[in-house]
C-alpha cells in the first residue's frame, strides 16, 4: 500500500509510456462523476426536473428541463436549460443558462442566472439534481435584493398580476432538441 502511494506521481510519466494504459486526461474524472450522476438521475429522478447529456455525445454538455412549480407565476410552464461543465467539475460550478426565455428577477434576458451556489457558494458536493432543485425553488422565491432584472423584482412585490402576464408574454416553448 505504502509503496504504491510512494510510487504514484513518478509513474504518471511511466504510465504514458506504457502504451497499453492510457494516461488519464483532464476531465476524465469530471466525465466519470457525470456518468455517475446520469446513473443517479435515471434511477432516482426528482419530480419536476430532468437532465440528460446533449446529443453530440459530449458528456461535459447537458440539457435540462424544469417544470414551473404550482402556486407560482410559472405554474404549468416548462423551461429548458443548458449545462456546460468545466473539466475540473465538481470542484468548479457548471455554467447554467436558461434557453427558454424567462421573466424572472434573477435571470437576465440572455438567460444568465444570478444564483450564489452557481458562483462563489458552489461546493463540490453539489450536483446536477441539487442545482436543478435550487433553480426550481428560485422560481417561487426569487432573491429580490440582488436582481438581474430590476423591473421583474419590483413587479414581483407590487403587481403580481402584471408579473404573471409578463411571464406568460416572455415564455416561448423551444421546438428544437
Amino acid at each position: 500500500m505504502e509503496d504504491s502511494q510512494n510510487a504514484a506521481p513518478g509513474s504518471v510519466s511511466a504510465n504514458k509510456l506504457g502504451g497499453a494504459r492510457k494516461a488519464a486526461d483532464p476531465g476524465q474524472n469530471a466525465a466519470k462523476r457525470l456518468q455517475t450522476e446520469l446513473m443517479m438521475l435515471m434511477t432516482s429522478p426528482a419530480p419536476g426536473v430532468s437532465a440528460f447529456p446533449s446529443a453530440d455525445g459530449n458528456l461535459l454538455s447537458w440539457r435540462a428541463t424544469i417544470e414551473g412549480p404550482d402556486d407560482t407565476p410559472y405554474a404549468g410552464l416548462t423551461f429548458k436549460l443548458s449545462f456546460e461543465f468545466p473539466s475540473n467539475y465538481p470542484y468548479a460550478p457548471p455554467t447554467v443558462i436558461y434557453r427558454t426565455p424567462i421573466y424572472h428577477p434573477n435571470v437576465d434576458f440572455s438567460g444568465r442566472i444570478c444564483l450564489d451556489i452557481l458562483k462563489d457558494k458552489w461546493t463540490a458536493a453539489y450536483n446536477i439534481q441539487t442545482v436543478l432543485l435550487s433553480l426550481q425553488s428560485l422560481l417561487g422565491e426569487p432573491n429580490n435584493s440582488s436582481p438581474l432584472n430590476g423591473e421583474a423584482a419590483e413587479l414581483w412585490e407590487k403587481d403580481p398580476a402584471l408579473f404573471k402576464s409578463k411571464v406568460m408574454d416572455r415564455h416561448k416553448d423551444l421546438e428544437d432538441d
Binding site: N6, S11, P26, P90
Partner: protein, 516 residues
Amino acid sequence: MPPPNTPEEGVLTADSPSEQSAPSIAYIPTRHRLYPEPPESPPPRAPTAPPAATTESSRATTPNPSRPPSRPNSAGRASPISCSDRSCLPPINYQDLHYESEVDKSLECPICRTPFYLPLTTKPCGHTFCAACLDRALEIQPVCPIDRQPLDATRDLCHTRVLLDQLDRLRVKCPNRGCDHVCSRELLAVHYERYCEYTMVHCPAPECDLRVARVDARAEKGCLHTYTPCQYCDKSVMVANLEEHYDADCGGHTAKCAHCNAIVIRHRMEKHIAKDCLRTVVACKWRPFGCSEWAPREEVEKHEQGHCVYQAIGRLVRDRMDDRMMINELKDRLSNVDERLRKAEKEKRRSHAAPFVPDLDLNDSPRAAPSYNSGAWDSPEDYMLAQFERMESKMEDLRKMIVELDGHHSMRLLNDTMRLNEQIAELNSKVGVLGMHTTWLMNVQRQSRGQQRAGTAGGPPGSGMVGSSSSAGGGGNSAGGRSVADSDRSRYYSANDGGVPLRRNSHDRGENPPRL
C-alpha cells in the same frame, strides 16, 4: 496531463485547479500527509519551518506563491518526484474500481460519488469525503463542501476507524485488464503489486523504459517494445501490442475464409480453418479404422454421426484401447504395490530378528550396541524400535510370571489355611467333648454328693437313672442332656424338702465351674 513537477503546477492558482494533474494520481500522496500523522495532533512544526520548504521543492521546482497558507501540512508528503526505481508500479486508481459487492450509498463520497478512498471526516460538522476530494475542495475554498462550515485542514479533520474497516471489506475486481481477480479492497494493493500477472511492470530489457504486463516480462521473451511490421497491414506495431492491433486497428485485420467466405480476423484464421470452418475439407474421424471419407466439415460431421460404417468398429477399437491402457496402468500400480510390500516385509523381518536374541539382561547394553554398529539396523530409529519391542516382550513375560506366582501363592495360602481351619474345627469339637465330659463328671460328682447326703435321709429312687440317661445322650446332644439334667435337678429340689435344699443349691452353684 503534466506530471506534477512540471512548471505548470507552479502557476497554479485557486481559480484554475484544472491545471492540476488528475487527482487520482496527483493526490494519492495526500495519504502520507493525513494518515501517518493524524490531524488530531498537528505537525509539531511551524508553517514556515523547513519541511514546508521541502514541500515546495518536492512538489514544484518553482515556488508556488498562490498555494493557500493552510497547506504547510503537506510537508509530510513523500517526495513525489519521478520514480527512478524500476520496481515502482502505476498506482491503482481507486475511483475507477469496479465493486463486486453492493456498496451502501452512505459509503459514497459526495464529491466523486464513488466509495470513499481514505475517508476523512470533518470535526465540526461530521461530513466525510475522500482525502483527495476534500483536499482539492479545500484548496479552492477552506469550507466544508456540504454545509460551508469553515475548516482548517490541519485541525478539523479526522478519520473514522469503523468506516475504514467497512471500506476495507468491500469486494473489488482487480483493475488490470484481463485479470478477473476479486478480493477485498484491503488486499487489492498486495494483489496488484505482487501477484497480478497483468500488472504493468518495467520491461526486463535494461535499456527499455516502457512497461509490459508481468506475464510477458520474462527475460527469455526479451523486450517486447520493438516495432515489427504487421504481417497484414502496412503499419509497424510494437510486439507487446500485436494481439491488440490484430483485434482492433489492423488495416487488413479481417479476411474472407477461402472455404466458407466468412469474415474472420486474420490471425485467428488458422484456428478457424482447423476447428470451425464448415466448408474446409477434412477426413472422417474414423479414418484410422479404415474409413476413406473426405468431405467438407459439415458433411463429414453428419457422416461421422450416422452413416460411417467404420463407426462401430472404431468405437470398439477405441474402447479396447482405453481398456488396454487402463490394464497397463493397473499393472504398473500393482507392481509398484508389490515392490513396496516386499520392501516392507524385508524391513519387518529385519526388525524382528533382534528381539529373539537371548538377551534378557536389561542392563546389558554393550551387547546390544554392537548389533547396531555392525550394520544389522538401517538406522538408529530402527534399532531403538527393535529394542523397544524387545523390552515390551520382556515386560510381557515378566507380567505373566508375576501372575503365575500370584496364583501359586494364593493356592498355597488357601491349602495351608484349609488345613488350619480343619484343625481348628477339630480342636473346637474336642473342646466341646471335653466340656461335656466335665459337665457329666460334675453331675456325677454332685449326684454322688447328693446321694451321700441322701444316704443319711433316704436317697431318691430315680437319681441313678437320670444320670445314666444323660450320659447315654452325652456328646452328641450335650445341651439337651444338660437341660434335662437341670430340670430334673430343679424338680428334684423343689419336690424335696422346701427351704434348706434351695439354699444349698445356690451354694452348690457358686462352687460349680463355669459352663462351656
